[in-house]
Amino acid sequence: MKISSKVKKAARALIFFLILILMLGGMSDVLRVKSPGRAANGFYDMKSGQCDVVMLGPSMIQQGCFPLELWKDHGITAYNLGSGNQSPIASYHFAKEAIEKQHPKLIIVECGQFRMRKTALKTSYIHYLTDNMPFFSQNRLSLIADYSKEAKIKTEDTIGLFVPLTLYHSNWKKLTKKYFTEDVKNKTCGARISTKIDSQVDVFGEVEVNPSFELPDRSSRYLEKLMDLCDETGTELLLIMMPIPGATKYVSFGSFKRRYNTMEAIKRIASERGYNAVNLLASYDELGIDPQHDTKDGQHLNYWGGVKFTSWLGSYLKENYALEDHRDDPGYKTYQDAYEIYQDYIDDKLGDTEADAEAEAEEDEI
């Protein structure tokens, strides 16, 4: 059959652009910033189907929940996909991504950001999330599209999100082996761990619950979407509010009250849909958390606080969800290897000086 020259030209042009897009994706991947602090660093290295629990949500869960402690105590395989200021929009799309890639049995979502009426505007937060996702991932593209629309991000910033190359292309000057081999591995299965101690924390008092408190529209919408997603995929969902030990420059008592009431409202909605929701915002005593030792800044738990929280979480998961103990399963050797790397990392961290811990805590602040 003779193919017309128009069709040949169209086919040629299409192939040219497809190859170009593939190259753009590859170059974006090489040149993007490689840092263990970025969400999903290491997530895509895991063998598919081995991760039973995925954590999502803002920095409170990212810095307070340690997957490899769950492995150590209960043989639960988990990954922490929390990230700074992770909004409900991002948590939803990341949940989709996690379900597609790992088919986890349980997704845990920290609900601190559900209190926000407006979406955080910093595109750097979205880069933290999306830069490490595969370039052609449908969830990456829809996350950027939804987020850009909701946060009314500038067009040039949206282009930078879709095609990170436009932002990172000047990293060609810094190219070293790590940019090609991605050996900047996350050693903690996604968690960010600080050994800084803030001992000047003013503990919040009791909160009066407002029974008529309603979630902002967008938060309701994405909560429903999350629950629908879990219904459709047969994934369990646990909604939590992490403990915030005390007042900080980021968290006033007003914000604390709002968070508390947000979680109570989420508990009401979750119970109607048959999902568990736990409000741990002020549960220091129950978790054994010492506000004068177990927090790095009053808002985020440090290493010691995170270990205590994760210990409580492990027991809760064992009681409420049928999660397997994989510690004796030879197919899960990579988790044991990961735990040993994590243990060495923790030992090094505990040997850090106070100045190192301060510096790292400041660097981590987003």
């Binding site: 128009k6 030209k9 040629r12 042009a13 040219f16 190859i19 170009l20 190259m23 753009l24 170059m27 040149l31 500038k154 067009t155 040039e156 910033d157 282009i159 930078g160 190359l165 436009t166 932002l167 292309h169 000047s170 060609w172 000057k173």
Partner: protein, 525 residues
């Protein structure tokens, strides 16, 4: 978001524009799409208020040319049955009547340009809204110098009957606001552009492909080479007192390359954009640094500006009966050679003074114009003597070495010319020369300190590689039509070239949220 030819915004705008453009089934509809595109472009490039000045100019041009054209049409009707002598008398009569319309147009259009230029010298404010206009608060449209010259040329062409008055106001408006040329030219004959509006072809794979290649080549010159070198020249000329010797010399050389890659890069983007639509624009550069003399240089650099001055200033002056009478009297008194020198030197110096003032209104631009005028006049006047020098020295003028030295001399002419305006001050050339001879600082070439002034070592190597590529392409351009030649090559080879160009722009280009798309240098004129 502001519109600049080297911004991602422009690429996105052009892509959407071309999709809509190609969907139109007829040239007339495509014309309206261009007009809409012009308005949208200008909204982001200059604002709707300054655009009203261009619209007013376009309407004025249309009205005046229509008036003149009607006069000639009536005259031609009446002269249909007359003999040649009577016909010419009738036409001259019509011309006399049209002179007042031409004068009105020139006074209003050129007068506005002069008002802006003088206003800038007197530090008048520049406002962005019509309601804020006062005598000392000017509303300045982007591309003023370019469209003014093109408009004046069209008025003159209609007056001289070189072009017929366009009856369709939409075409005149579209031509005057044509977005690819509005900011930096090329300065063109609107008549030629409007004729192309009648024929605008639809989608063509080859035209789109060639146009896209040209656009990317322009982006390579601008955002890979020009903006990179400009980081160094801006640092040096912005703090001239802190730099000496080789640092300043390199800045002068880099400044030449910056202006070449910036302006010619813009022209590539602009001509490529028009090519995608099926519209041909005149070339503005023809390997200028291959010129072997000053006059030849200006036939290769900003070609359309030189052509405009030749058509509308030089020739009218040189062919003016009174002027010719005067040079005739010089021939009688001082001989043929003296007469020939004066007959070219006087209009040339006037052209060059005006060219200097077109570029800027300070004393340094006037001196720049006089500098080039003297060079070109001397080259023309003393051509026989200059030719004898290498002959007497036994130099082979056909040799590569001799021609290379001539090209190097042209580069030096241009570099010296740039020194008149490089640091933006009145005494720019004196400051630069003083700093150049004050201290040599040759060690900065070896101790790495040269890379601390806006251009690090890696950027320097990229810029150098870019200049080499541009030089090679310029050489090849003298021997072949590169895009056509490339189109004949095997698919794999040509795709490698295309990908290399696109990747070079995407990786090494200075663009993105961390960079502000820097304005093209000639956009300020």
């Amino acid at each position: 978001m502001t519109m600049s030819y080297n911004s991602e915004f422009y690429i996105g705008f052009l892509a959407v524009f071309l999709i809509v453009y190609f969907l139109m089934p007829r040239p007339r509809l495509r014309l309206f799409v261009i007009l809409a595109g012009n308005m949208l472009f200008y909204k982001f490039a200059g604002g709707l208020n300054p655009m009203s000045v261009i619209f007013a100019t376009a309407i004025l041009v249309w009205l005046i040319t229509m008036k003149m054209g009607r006069g000639y049409e009536e005259c031609e009707k009446q002269a249909a049955d007359l003999d040649r002598k009577a016909k010419n008398a009738l036409i001259n009569e019509a011309k006399k009547k049209n002179r007042k319309w031409l004068a009105l147009g020139l006074v209003l259009i050129l007068g506005f340009l002069i008002y802006i230029k003088v206003g800038r010298v007197l530090h008048f404010d520049e406002v962005g809204h019509i309601r804020d206009i006062r005598f000392t608060a000017m509303l300045v449209p982007v591309g003023l110098s370019y469209y003014t010259f093109s408009a004046v040329g069209y008025l003159a062409d209609v007056y001289w009957r070189k072009a017929k008055a366009e009856k369709d106001p939409v075409k005149v408006l579209t031509a005057l606001t044509f977005f690819p040329i509005i900011i930096e030219g090329p300065i063109l004959h609107y008549d030629d552009l409007m004729k192309q509006f009648d024929e605008m072809p639809g989608f063509s794979y080859e035209r789109l492909s060639f146009g896209a290649q040209r656009i990317f080549w322009g982006l390579f010159k601008k955002i890979v080479v020009s903006d990179r070198l400009a980081a160094y020249t801006t640092t040096v000329f912005g703090n001239l007192g802190e730099f000496f010797g080789i640092e300043v010399l390199l800045a002068v050389i880099a400044n030449v390359l910056v202006i070449y890659t910036d302006f010619s890069g813009c022209m590539d983007i602009v001509i490529g954009s028009a090519e995608c639509m099926g519209i041909e624009l005149p070339e503005n550069f023809r390997q200028p640094f291959f010129a072997k003399g000053a006059a030849e240089f200006w036939r290769r650099w900003h070609i359309t500006l030189g052509a405009w001055f030749k058509d509308y200033v030089y020739m009218p002056l040189a062919m003016n009966p009174r002027f010719m009478k005067w040079t005739g009297s010089i021939r009688k008194k001082a001989g043929a050679r003296a007469s020939r020198i004066v007959s070219s030197a006087v209009p040339l110096m006037i052209v060059w003074i005006l060219t200097g003032l077109w570029h800027g209104t300070g004393i340094n631009y006037l001196l720049w114009g006089i500098y080039w005028g003297i060079l070109i006049v001397a080259e023309t006047a003393f051509a026989p003597e200059l030719k004898k020098i290498p002959e007497k020295l036994g130099v082979n003028t056909e040799s590569f070495g001799y021609q290379f030295l001539q090209m190097a001399r042209t580069f030096i002419y241009f570099a010296v010319g740039r020194m008149f305006t490089a640091d933006g001050s009145k005494g720019s050339i004196i400051h630069i020369l003083r700093q150049m001879v004050g201290e040599h600082r040759l060690w900065t070439l070896f101790d790495g300190s040269l890379y601390e002034h806006g251009l690090d070592r890696k950027d320097f190597y990229v810029a150098l590689a870019g200049i080499c590529v541009i030089w090679i392409v310029d050489i090849l351009s003298t021997r072949m039509k590169i895009r056509e030649e490339l189109a004949e090559q095997p698919l794999v080879f040509r795709w490698l070239v295309y990908y290399a160009l696109v990747i070079a722009v995407l990786i090494f280009g200075l663009y993105g949220p961390q960079f502000v798309a820097s304005d093209f240098a000639y956009g300020v004129f």
